[in-house]
């Protein structure tokens, strides 16, 4: 769970490009159309270092909408659903693993 922002680009499985939306800090994923979505199902999934580099470069250039852009691992379930590829990404998508104060 070392911050991926410090890691060199190495693609060993399916990945997405993710960031935080500038205006509100929400977790977003880069789409194939060059936009950002909060829905992981809508994210562009790539599997090679060159595709990831290209996707990342386009996302990094989009400075007005997203910050702290990086490549994150995902997994494909048996039903070809895209899910986060590690605990950090699960937490980013789903929120803290404990109930927030005031919730039971």
């Amino acid at each position: 769970m070392t911050s991926p922002l410090q890691q060199k680009l190495k693609v060993t499985g399916p990945v997405v490009v993710t960031a935080n939306r500038l205006g509100d800090g929400a977790v977003v994923y880069r789409t194939a159309q060059g936009n950002w979505t909060g829905d992981l199902a809508g994210a562009a999934v790539v599997t090679t270092a060159s595709a990831a580099t290209e996707l990342l470069a386009a996302a990094l250039a989009d400075k007005l909408r997203a910050v702290d852009v990086y490549v994150a691992p995902v997994e494909l379930t048996a039903e070809q659903q895209v899910i986060p590829g590690n605990l950090r990404e699960r937490i980013r998508l789903n929120g803290p693993t404990i109930p927030l104060p005031g919730e039971s």
Binding site: M1, D24, G25, I91, T97, G102
Partner: protein, 552 residues
């Protein structure tokens, strides 16, 4: 507590307008993220895993009831109805939108609250003993000196771009509750043999990747010289602190690499030309600030009033809470009350907006409108009349801040960890919650006595794990959460870093290890009143190691 005058208010308002303009320039793209990030950090705005986080300064941990109500308002209006009190007497809101931050800051400014310098490479919130002003063992109110320093170091043009963050703590009590020996500058007020009051100046303490206990570079600094001497330290650090490597950029590294004596000489050389200049604190300057410190008009009261004795005798739950969470006040008939923000199974240090409002009302009713925030992430009502304790307790119990676990094993200090923080390797909150569940039996917790657990989710050590009696550090091994355990750390006058117990253990086992350490302590202690830390000091780490790792 310090009451703002129009100068203080104007500065905070000007800061809000400045930040609003900066946010506007960021959103329009005129400022890049690289240019904007240090500016937002200097206003306490982080970007975490899910959202922006706003850290608000609570100078030396003192809050008015109106300020607490404003924090509740911000939690409700801009966040998710709760806030988190930190180990540096700040409060954090985890879900604020950048677009709304200027408005939130404008609201906070109305009661003199702000996020100035709660992050970034500048001087951070200056912390003190949360009992300053009311502790029986203090020689004077350290907060006056903290306020003098705070003003001097706010938007200081020379020291706003230091090599790294800079943390200062003060204590003026016999017992150091402010952990001054693990700060970049620690200031210990004391009396010299001539009976004069001054500061022992300790530099280069700190936790994190390379923890150090600070070194004394000036055993006795007269009060008059406080600002000029701190200026000299900061100027030396600003010029010679390393800027090539963020892990070697704190002053503790500079002090270590130069040696304390050489560092002290550099400071002295920087200090001599300025000690009698504009920064010399003459009586008029000190009186000027002191006159804006308002102290409550506490009535003269009888110690141990009859109604207190009756309640103590009549209600075992009240008696247990009284013995645990209520402390002696310097004035007869009064008490210092700790509100535990560590209920079993909940995130340590969090309070809901509803709780904040209720606590503000109780502060008005029972504590002359004043609240304190402790670096152990609990709150304090500092001016309670002993005769009000039964009624206060019932009210605190209703709002869930009367768990009688202050200072006990379930009074855990923890950073937010991987559930929130983008720097973390592992989660800390669920670990804390599980540990509190294992020790929810209050008889067991009481039998273990004073036992401080500190949890950090990464090496940055925001949970201060190095100085925990039991310290837990989250690390990553092959994509899994692991935890390294230390024991025997302490933060006070006998400050010491913890000793590693053994190999790191996985998430599923860490609570078991803590239970094993507790069991080992019960077996090893000489008497029931030998505290955990003293048992460790007597027997060392080996007996604990044997028992914990043999249990496997």
């Amino acid at each position: 507590m310090y009451v703002y005058d129009d100068f203080d208010r104007t500065l905070v308002e000007e800061r809000v307008r400045d930040f609003r303009d900066q946010v506007g320039r960021r959103l329009s793209g005129e400022l890049t993220e690289e240019e904007f990030k240090p500016l937002r950090l200097m206003n306490g705005v982080y970007l975490q895993l899910h959202a922006y986080m706003l850290r608000i300064a609570i100078p030396y941990g003192t809050l008015s009831s109106d300020q607490m109500r404003m924090l509740a308002h911000v939690a409700r209006k801009y966040d998710r109805n709760y806030g988190h009190f930190t180990t540096r007497q700040n409060i954090q809101f985890n879900w604020i939108k950048l677009e709304q931050l200027p408005d939130a800051m404008a609201d906070l400014a109305r009661v003199g609250l702000h996020g100035m310098q709660t992050s970034g490479n500048c001087v951070r919130n200056i912390t003190t003993d949360q009992w300053a002003g009311v502790a029986p063992d203090e020689i004077e109110d350290a907060r006056i000196w903290a306020e003098l320093l705070r003003q001097h170091l706010t938007l200081h043009p020379e020291f706003s771009f230091l090599p790294r963050k800079f943390k200062i703590a003060l204590t003026a009590a016999a017992h150091d509750r402010a952990a001054v020996r693990v700060h970049d500058i620690g200031l210990r007020m004391h009396r010299n043999s001539a009976g004069e009051t001054g500061f022992e100046v300790i530099v280069g303490g700190g936790l994190g990747r390379t923890p150090f206990i600070g070194k004394t570079i000036k055993p006795f600094l007269p009060k008059r010289d406080l600002l000029s001497y701190v200026e000299a330290i900061l100027r030396t650090y600003n010029q010679y602190g390393r800027r090539d490597n963020i892990y070697k950029a704190r002053i503790k590294i500079l002090v270590h690499e130069l040696g304390a004596e050489k560092f002290a000489r550099e400071v002295e050389e920087e200090w001599q030309p300025i000690r009698n200049g504009a920064l010399a604190l003459e009586a008029a300057g000190v009186a000027e600030i002191t006159q804006r410190f308002r102290y409550p008009d506490c009535p003269v009261l009888e110690d141990e009033p009859a109604e207190l004795g009756r309640a103590r005798a009549g209600d075992p739950r009240f008696r247990i809470w009284l013995d645990n969470a209520v402390f002696n006040h310097k004035l007869l008939g009064h008490a210092i009350v700790t509100l535990s923000l560590k209920p079993v199974g909940a995130p340590p240090g969090d309070a809901t907006a509803q709780q904040m409002d209720a606590i503000a009302d109780l502060a008005d009713r029972y504590s002359h409108g004043e609240i304190r925030v402790g670096h152990e992430q609990n709150l304090v009502l500092p001016h309670v009349a002993q005769r009000d304790l039964p009624a206060l307790w019932r009210a605190l119990d209703t709002i869930g801040v009367a768990t009688p676990n202050v200072g006990l094993v379930s009074d855990i200090i923890a950073c937010p960890g991987l559930d929130y923080c983008s720097l973390a390797n592992a989660r800390s909150i669920p670990v804390a919650e599980e540990i509190t569940r294992r020790f929810k039996d209050l008889d067991l917790a009481r039998s273990l006595g004073r036992l401080h657990i500190n949890i950090s989710g990464c090496i940055n050590a925001c949970g201060h794990h190095h100085i925990g009696h039991i310290g837990i550090l989250g690390v990553e091994k092959n994509g899994e959460e692991y935890y390294q355990v230390t024991i025997g750390g302490r933060a006070d006058d006998a400050a010491r870093l913890g000793t590693i117990l053994g190999p790191a253990v996985p998430y599923g086992e860490i609570a078991d290890v803590v239970e094993d350490i507790a069991a080992a302590y019960l077996e090893l202690r000489e008497r029931p009143d030998e505290h955990f830390i003293h048992t460790f000091e007597r027997v060392g780490v080996e007996p604990f190691k044997e028992r914990v790792y043999a249990a496997g």
